[in-house]
């Protein structure tokens, strides 16, 4: 990286990219970008660029893997070889397999899996450019793609990270802060139900700092949720009105 890791927060209390500690990166969301998929979403959060696609529900093969009372949710998180500075091997790494599981478990509570027994639904998350907190951005995109596919859901899932950088609790970590900072707390949240579906902590925080970080992340989630709503309505509400 070209950025020198001298000071992550300057004297005025601003971060490397000029954000305040409780400020999100600029976010751009688009729903329904892929015509082949049943549902899709594209999100840009700072330098993160992530595409999510949903296929299904469909018959599960091999059939013995199907569950008699519910749908199987399959998730694949993948980073494109060009998504980071150093070429990343396209083969699934240990980290990607873990993140696939993390994302699946964060979005599964929102889906009515019992409505489609013996079927499967595939969620593909492709990271085109990575700049920290990709798991959170991926969850935000994946839940939008599921809503776009018309899958009945309890709520949308929004995710945002908080962390500790030079003794300050900050929101929405970017790569430089994630690497040098002392803690990272990704939170996935269902804003209407007030339910946390993912909570991880990497690093060291005191109980007070942890609580502050979680609350800050939830605040960030609520801000992103407003953008999620806007993106979904932009696709469905305005298009329908034109057709009429």
């Amino acid at each position: 990286m070209s950025q020198k890791t001298e000071k992550l927060i300057d004297k005025k209390g601003l971060r490397l990219d000029g954000r305040k500690p409780d400020e999100l990166r600029p976010i751009k969301i688009e729903v329904g970008v892929l015509s082949n998929a049943d549902g899709s979403a594209y999100i840009e959060q700072g330098k993160n660029k992530i595409l999510a696609a949903v296929y299904g529900p469909k018959e599960l093969h091999p059939k013995h893997m199907a569950l008699p009372d519910r749908m199987v949710l399959r998730c694949r998180y993948h980073m494109a070889p060009f998504s980071v500075q150093e070429r990343k091997s396209p083969a699934p790494s240990r980290r990607e397999i873990e993140l696939s599981k993390v994302i699946r478990e964060a979005i599964e509570p929102a889906i009515f899996v019992e409505y489609y027994p013996r079927t499967a639904i595939d969620v593909f998350v492709e990271v085109l450019q990575a700049d920290g907190s990709t798991r959170c951005t991926s969850i935000t995109a994946a839940s939008l793609a599921l809503a776009d596919a018309g899958v009945p859901m309890r709520d949308l899932v929004v995710a945002c990270s908080a962390g500790k950088v030079e003794d300050t609790i900050v929101l929405d970590l970017m790569d430089a802060e994630d690497k040098v900072g002392s803690a990272d707390v990704p939170v996935a949240y269902m804003p209407n139900l007030g339910v946390i579906t993912l909570l991880q902590m990497d690093g060291i925080l005191t109980p007070e700092e942890f609580e502050k970080a979680v609350n800050l992340a939830i605040e960030g989630c609520k801000k992103i949720y407003a953008l999620q709503k806007e993106a979904l309505k932009a696709k469905y509400v305005s298009v329908k009105e034109v057709e009429e």
Binding site: G39, Y116, A147, V237
Partner: protein, 193 residues
């Protein structure tokens, strides 16, 4: 959780999870679910408040997430034929093309109102067939073609692979002249898949 009064008129766009009311004031209907006494939407749609019958439902704006149901009209490709049963790869339910597929089974007793001796006179592997789902028993979609709108809509010559043409009550290959038998739908050869 409180419900804002701005959400209180019909036709409002709603997203999964958005609160629509409480069970004390409305009966939850299609497109909604209840959690802790609050009615939420579970799809992207428009809210419909029936103040007369005290019902709340969501009219879907997204048409997706379709699986075959009893009564669905499906289109598929015949993948395997035995004397008693044919297997169909369903790729379309109603008007929706699937990204994956479902497997349906068509038994000789469900082909015609009259008696049919062999499935080989009904369809052959590769044919495109329109059928109706009559049962989901035993983890399989059972199909029927007992209607003149149902049956094979496109059939291929078992000798050379050309699309067969209607010829009297049978089908004829325009390339090699082979005559074949099928249970055809009324719009055979002209129907749009």
């Amino acid at each position: 959780m409180s419900v804002q009064s701005s959400k209180r008129n019909s036709g409002q766009p709603v997203l999964p999870g958005e609160p629509l009311g409480v069970i004390e004031e409305f009966v939850p209907d299609a497109g909604t679910y209840v959690k802790d006494g609050v009615i939420h939407s579970k799809i992207v749609g428009r809210s419909l408040l029936d103040l007369l019958n005290k019902r709340v439902s969501v009219f879907p704006l997204v048409h997706g997430a379709r699986v075959p149901k009893v009564g669905s009209i499906v289109i598929g490709q015949v993948s395997n034929v035995q004397t008693q049963i044919a297997t169909v790869r369903i790729f379309k339910i109603g008007k929706k093309l699937l990204s994956g597929f479902f497997t349906g089974l068509l038994h000789v007793s469900d082909v015609h109102l009259r008696f049919v001796e062999s499935m080989f006179d009904i369809c052959k592997p590769g044919d495109i067939i329109r059928a109706k789902v009559i049962s989901e028993k035993n983890r399989a979609y059972h199909l029927t073609t007992k209607d003149k709108s149902l049956g094979v809509v496109y059939a291929f010559c078992s000798q050379c692979g050309e699309v067969l043409e209607l010829k009297g009550r049978g089908l004829r290959c325009p390339r090699c002249g082979k005559i074949e038998k099928r249970k055809t739908a009324i719009d055979y050869g002209i129907g749009i898949i």
